[in-house]
Assembly symmetry: C2
DNA sequence: GAACGGGTACTCGGATAACTATTGTCCGAGTGACTGTGG
DNA sequence: CCACAGTCACTCGGACAATAGTTATCCGAGTACCCGTTC
């Protein structure tokens, strides 16, 4: 019962994209370098985001990833679901009540959903509701409040280490 | 990101104990038979509940498991935490923000908790709050409402298949 | 008849394998940009 | 000077291992009960 580590990576990557993609698509290698992560595995997570329609990818020399929608229109829940594969639920009810002694019960007893499953479902819904209340934009705002200028720092850092041939050739 | 199947087993087992333990300790083999589960692995889950102090175990011929407290004083959250090992949280923040580009940030920038982690924490808290609102007693009540007489049926079924030597010898 | 001791069967408990899901890595297909040539 | 085709380097994407966590199983230690014996 632990959330995949890819969720954390994806969320940070999305925030980074929200700060950078106004300029140009950001390649996975660049995002990986920003967060000091293995490029290949991060690519895997980004692909999941593409499949979920949250980011778009472009190939070729100046290719990379960018958000498919404004950051204010992407919720944390969507990112979590994208990485986790949109699982049906945290708690998988196997209808245990209908096994063993439950087999002797008269028909119709199990029309109502399992009480235990209902409780777990309810709790999960609270969790999802809270995740849906936050968007990439609100998170980005929170980070800027906590550490002002972090977005500019990222942009400057990326441009400073930028590997655009025209820049290096312009000396 | 899926809850261990043992959680479902433990919750059903606890409800069963709530119905049966007024009479005598219930051996793991009996609980397993009630739910048609592998005895050995169910024992493992019950041991986790013992370690968490939710149920007590007694060895010997008439040994078994019983609830350590009234069913109204055991929350679903406690059972979940007992099985899941009382993990720190669903989302493990690895302080990704302090790696890569974050290394260039001035000190003191990271005094405030990570915004992303805070959101996940908040969502998890909602989840835990909801789980804490329900007790074994409330679940047992819900099951009785959905399928009246299920507790009696369980008791009768257990006694009917009871393997107490005195009963079988009394024919 | 009552008390006591030994044997027995039953219980939990922890140590030990099989399996699944997650994590990590690699190489190939595709694409857009740059360069050199011809008009 | 401009248009065009070829080449190249860089990108994503999916296929392929290593690892950790979960699931499943077994056998041993301990305990309370039952029975036979003795007082």
């Amino acid at each position: 019962m632990r959330l995949s580590e890819g969720v954390e990576w994806a969320l940070h990557s999305c925030v980074t994209l929200a700060w950078l993609d106004a300029e140009a698509p950001v390649p996975a290698a660049k995002i990986a370098e920003i967060h000091d992560l293995p490029t290949a595995y991060l690519t895997k997570q980004l692909q999941a985001l593409v499949r979920a329609g949250l980011v778009t990818s472009s190939s070729g020399r100046r290719g990379g990833f960018r958000l498919a929608r404004p950051s204010s229109a992407i919720t944390v829940l969507e990112v979590v679901d994208a990485i986790e594969g949109g699982r049906a639920g945290i708690f998988g009810c196997t209808e245990l009540r209908q096994r063993g002694v439950g087999r002797d019960a008269p028909p119709g007893c199990f029309d109502a959903p399992c009480t235990i499953a209902a409780v777990m479902e309810s709790a999960e819904q609270r969790w999802r509701d809270e995740l849906a209340r936050h968007t990439l934009a609100s998170i980005a705002r929170g980070i800027r409040t906590a550490t002002p200028g972090s977005d500019d720092a990222t942009r400057v850092w990326v441009r400073g280490r930028g590997s655009t041939p025209t820049d290096t050739a312009g000396t």
